[in-house]
Symmetry: C3
């Protein structure tokens, strides 16, 4: 494909002496002759001079380069669009695989793709163009919106409702029982039935082996557009706002309330029964025991503002030496006091 065609389809401005032929898209270190590459992370600017790529997608404000470039205000999006031009997806076979077990009263929309050994329980309702890969299990009463794609070995538990174009990666569990037990006198526990549902709105993606629990009462809710990475735990009754990005291995304890556009890096932990304001960001491994206002960047455990945390962690490295300095001061002051006759 000519670079000019790619420019058109990705809505970029082409800056090039020649309209080169492009065969594929590759990372800046791996790209060779015929490849289009991109810079999405500033760490990789250093590779610009050495790349063997035939062309590059760049932000408008980036410096001039020797090779043909596609300029845009959103290079990451242009990269995504360019990639699709060369990508050959695995297209799931349409229809219902003869081995699938679909309850007689389940309602399937037009054009389903239901794979081998998939199980669709009683009373399930699926929109149009839904894809269930092999080995998906829908417990009774599940609802899936148009275009939902559920990957192999994912489970959607009873009565959970997923919106349009929701993607559930392999092995994710939507609607497992919340971790709710009433403590008894003798130290043992009484299991509390988890009567609530999980509701996942349109355009959400749930990562592989992630777990989104149902609650005893009320819904666990993932709002429109949020992206939940692999191995994330969303506890019973938590609400995740719109367009949140929750990276791998993060955990929300239960009844956590995240506002809109919250971002959590990996392995963050949120205690239960707390509120996080819109647009708050959490760096990796942050532990959040309390409410957080909108827009802040938080780090550490217990979480404080990132700038404070950075200052404290830098100071901590000086602490062993500081202890010595205080000891020296104590000696000096004692000597001065002796000398002054106190």
């Amino acid at each position: 494909m000519k670079l000019s065609q790619i420019a058109e389809k990705t809505r970029c401005r082409m800056v090039a002496a020649n309209d080169v032929e492009i065969h594929g898209v590759a990372g800046i270190e791996d790209a060779g002759c015929g490849d289009l590459t991109f810079i999405a992370n500033r760490k990789y600017i250093k590779h610009l001079k050495e790349t063997r790529a035939s062309a590059i997608i760049l932000a408008e404000e980036m410096p001039e380069v020797q090779i043909p470039s596609l300029r845009t205000s959103n290079p990451y999006l242009a990269f995504a669009l360019a990639l699709e031009l060369f990508y050959e997806p695995v297209v799931p076979e349409r229809g219902i695989h003869p081995t699938a077990v679909v309850a007689p009263d389940a309602e399937l929309g037009p054009n389903p793709a239901i794979g081998a050994f998939a199980v669709v329980g009683c009373g399930c309702r699926l929109g149009r163009d839904v894809v269930l890969h092999p080995h998906v299990v829908l417990y009774p009463g599940v609802e899936l919106g148009d275009g939902a794609v559920i990957h192999a070995h994912a489970t959607i538990r009873e009565k959970c409702r997923l919106g349009k174009r929701v993607i559930v990666q392999n092995g994710a569990v939507i609607g497992g029982d919340g971790f709710g037990f009433a403590p008894m006198e003798k130290g043992d526990f009484y299991k509390i039935v988890q009567a609530g549902c999980v509701v996942i709105e349109d355009d959400v993606e749930i990562g592989a082996n992630a777990t989104i629990d149902r609650a005893a009462v009320g819904d666990t809710l993932i709002r429109r557009g949020s992206k939940i990475d692999n191995l994330v735990q969303v506890g019973h009754g938590s609400h995740v706002g719109e367009d949140c990005v929750i990276a791998a291995q993060t955990g929300l304890a239960g009844s956590t309330r995240l506002g809109r556009g919250v971002r959590a890096a990996g392995q963050v932990g949120f205690a239960g029964h707390l509120q996080v304001g819109d647009g708050a960001t959490f760096t990796a491994q942050t532990g959040v025991p309390h409410d957080v206002p909108p827009g802040v960047i938080m780090s550490g455990y217990p979480a404080v503002e990132n700038a404070t945390w950075l200052r404290c962690m830098a100071a901590l490295l000086k602490l062993p030496d500081l202890i010595k300095r205080v000891r020296d001061l104590e000696k000096s002051v004692a000597a001065l006091r002796d000398q002054s006759g106190n």
Copy 2:
């Protein structure tokens, strides 16, 4: 259902001018007319005045309220019991689904519910009333006690033994190979066969996508009544005592020994080969590298008593300023020494 009936069935004392009609149970913020609500977490007392619930479950010692209340010494248990009165569980179909593959020599107790595509390996022995949801896999030689419930996509590996009423949530793996490798001269590793079993006693619950590993020798053991949350890792040869509560994403490295009634909040890590005393509690993200005595509350990494940790973390926020103060002191002391002629 009348509130008085609920009071009787939940063994509560009714405090009410009118015996109101209750249609369901809901959280204090979501409850509307006809709902019974409850306060289990003190954070929610502030909502007492605004709730639109028709009645509330409260501890005996809580203040008087305007709406009808059910008083009890264990409001959380009363809530659980009340919830059951209105809950319509999904009842798995009894019998053996025609697609299930059950080994000819497997012994099934009375009244099984074995779902679609379940696999029961050679020599498995199942008690009465066992539920295997669709897509459960039991490797050969597994034993399940009466009333055990195994959810879709859970795997129980060879020869593991689960007690009565054990519940395994979706995707959990019981008896995967422990992470044991003998280091070789060239830096590579020799896999050690994991010949041990996992033994899970009565009334244990294992969360979704949790992993409980088998060991090379000896049993990995989860004792009676313990509750293990989603995505928890229990390493090879670890023992979890009775009535422990281990929250999501916590990890036990291997050969860890937890006493009775230990509680770990989310994302806690226990190093291997250590002993934790009965009733010890660990706050979220605590890292435990050493033995811990009974009854203490531990935090931080390396774990120290919670009170110490809180004091240290508060002090840490003052450290950048403290460094400045020490520098000032050093100047002052130098000046004093100059002045005194030293």
Copy 3:
């Protein structure tokens, strides 16, 4: 089996008055009469005097013991070899289970063992002696090397390539979509197709419910001999070097590059786009935000050298007291200054 036979098969030197009969291998605390035991972890030396084992595997340099011993330079390996002499593995049935769904164009090598409900997608190519336990799903275009063993409920996504003797534990997901989204103007996200593959070289083991993501471009790569524990996340485009050992619940964010022989204890987090040198070691819960040179031992977050971290954490416990001491010094210095007329 006679101890002398075991000595021969494990290449140990026997030190024994009598050539005792051995019936099994057990841990030092559980071992009884007829058992061979071992010490692999120095913590257990204290049990040496009380063990009821009939014989023990010991390193050459360990002190003399009362019971017969097998001496070797690698006691852990000798233990592994001895254990195999008594271990009766579950042998998967060879052939293709009648319920398995194998694409007509899939190429199977000699002597396959393909379990119930396994799915082998179009264009898959399997080497000789491959074992697919029940409920394994191979998406189209997967390649598995000779002797690969894939456990129940594991998924290998489209076009991923696994080498010889790779073992994938239950529920692991190889090749799930990387967590890549282009931010859009309104705060929502555009999913980037994940066109890359996961490549896993020979002799790698992947733990239960671990997730190894594919990338938008380029391969995610696990090199020969590396061992990845349960619930580990390997992000899109990361490379794990040869003979690495990555313990449970560790996460690699994306485009992380680990050298050869890197060791990470549990719950470690690696930020994306960083390089870790050969042989670096990370203690549990370490958070790694930057490049790390070869051979170092790192701890804490942000990670520093372990010795520094230990010193800082010890100092932190003294910080509350240090603050008091500084306050006292300030008073003393103020008094001295008053006295000296400043």
